[in-house]
Amino acid sequence: MHRILLATLLLLLSSGVHAQSHDSATGQLNAWQNYTLIGGAIVLLGVGIIIYRSNKAKALANKELAEQKRVIEQALEEKEALLKEIHHRVKNNLQLVSSLLQLQSKKFKDPEIIKAMEEGQGRVKSMAIIHEMLYQNENIINIPFKSYLQSLVQNINISFGESANDIKVTMEVPDVAFNVDTAIPLGLIMNELIYNCFKYAFDEKQQGHVNISLKDRGADSYVLNIVDNGKGLPDDFEQRKSKSLGLRLVTMLSKQLEGELAFESSEKGTSINIWFKHQEDH
């Protein structure tokens, strides 16, 4: 751009000088022509300077923009690295909590206490899986519920060892993702209910089947159903509900999710419904 202007300017000036030396008879016309040429040249020069300056300003602005972009990108990278570091720390600390429970249980011989410590570790794990998913997924805010459930069930399966071999778990869960405020209480609820199913619902040697389904009821509300073909709830279930930590957790966490909880039981099995709301982000 600058070069074209400069070339035009030079051409105009040189043609003006040339015209002057050419013919004196047509001097006036020539002089007039010369003024025009020189005037034109000055105008062009002015325009050139303006364009040059604005280009220079633009280049400067571009440079600044690029620099800003670099700073933002770097900040973003740092943010992601920090988030990963935090999830790593959270999981390590959850491991510490789990390890402390493990170490403490060594002191006891009573199998019931040892079992309680193991259950405590299971709860810690159900929370850890959420951090694991947050950490692995690109979408760092929401937890895909179906894959969460799959990990949770797998974990409970492992903790029951070979006695869980005859229990089949199926799922009818759509692709939904919940935020942490919803996923943590929901995960703990699911942990307790599935754990209870594995522990109490079936007689030995029975082919157990557990089905978990989730339905979207619109307006951010959902209903979750866990049904098994086991022996049903015991007669003193209402009493147990207020005593067992697992069931107390289920009751209080349903409330936290602004939800409701219903147990139905017969000799053909148990069905549990939880209506709940996806919690707003804090």
């Binding site: 990963k84 790593h88 999981k91 390590n92 959850l94 491991q95 510490l96 909590v97 789990s98 390890s99 402390l100 493990q102 170490l103 060594k106 193991e118 570790q121 299971g122 810690v124 794990k125 850890a128 694991e132 950490y135 692995q136 492992i158 903790s159 029951f160 060892g161």
Partner: protein, 246 residues
């Protein structure tokens, strides 16, 4: 009774200690605990563990993945990674070392039990390398100079030098040691392939003997620790030639 020896490499003491409790609770022996990779290398030499559990993040310059590469190259024992890293780049680096197991923190007793069993099976399958021979569940595993056989939920260690002879009985094998007789489900033909041939030789269609344990031998029988074992014509020449050199 010999136990499977486990090395724990973890720089967080509480976690290492709880891991030790779990491993011992399962019936195995913890022969060393290290918080640095270099320290672990020394323990690998001194204690000769049969399996290692490695945290990926360690104190010092070298990490658990470096350590795994060293184990693979120099010690040839199964190892399990233990990590709270779930991100792709770490996992990929770890996977490159072809680990025998990968445990995510937080772990519980059941996770460790499953991981050890799986690691031993994976190790045995890698050693055999012919996929056709991979059994669904491995009942016997050879690590260095020992056989590990499953006894209920526990892998029991039988160092080669404690094995007197092996006798085939239908679908089972009787492994006779100094103190005990143990049963495993396997065919003698498959089992003998895994054993070092300079120590274990066939004496009869149904017998494999540890040649170093033979106390006396004649034309048709040999004696090991008050057991009389038949020698059949097929195996006689090779076996006697070997026994003569001892």
């Amino acid at each position: 009774m010999d136990k499977l020896k486990v090395l724990i490499v973890e720089d967080e003491f509480i976690i290492a200690e709880s891991l030790k409790d779990i491993v011992e609770d399962l019936g195995y022996e913890v022969v060393g605990m290290a918080i640095r990779a270099e320290e672990a290398i020394e323990l690998l030499e001194a204690e000769q563990p049969d399996l290692a559990i490695l945290d990926i993040t360690l104190k010092g310059e070298k990490d658990g993945i470096w350590l795994a590469e060293q184990i693979k190259a120099n010690h040839k024992i199964p190892y399990i990674f233990l990590s709270s890293h779930g991100d792709q780049s770490t996992v990929q680096r770890a996977v490159k070392t072809k680990p025998y197991g990968y445990l995510m923190k937080p772990f519980q007793k059941a996770d460790i039990y499953t991981a050890i069993s799986l690691a031993l099976s994976n190790y045995e399958n890698e050693r055999n390398q012919t996929p056709a021979e991979i059994a669904e569940e491995t009942s016997n595993i050879i690590i260095k100079n020992s056989i590990f056989i499953k006894d209920g939920h526990l892998f029991v260690k039988l160092p080669f030098h404690t094995v007197l002879f092996v006798k085939a009985d239908g679908n089972y094998l009787e492994i006779h040691t100094d103190s005990k007789r143990r049963l495993i489900k396997s065919s003698l033909k498959e089992f003998i392939k895994k054993l070092p041939q300079h120590i274990f030789m066939q004496a009869h269609r149904s017998y494999v003997v540890n040649v170093e344990k033979v106390e006396s031998f004649g034309a048709t029988v040999l004696n090991i620790n008050q057991h009389e074992i038949p020698i059949s014509a097929n195996y006689k020449d090779e076996l006697v030639a070997k026994l003569m050199t001892l």
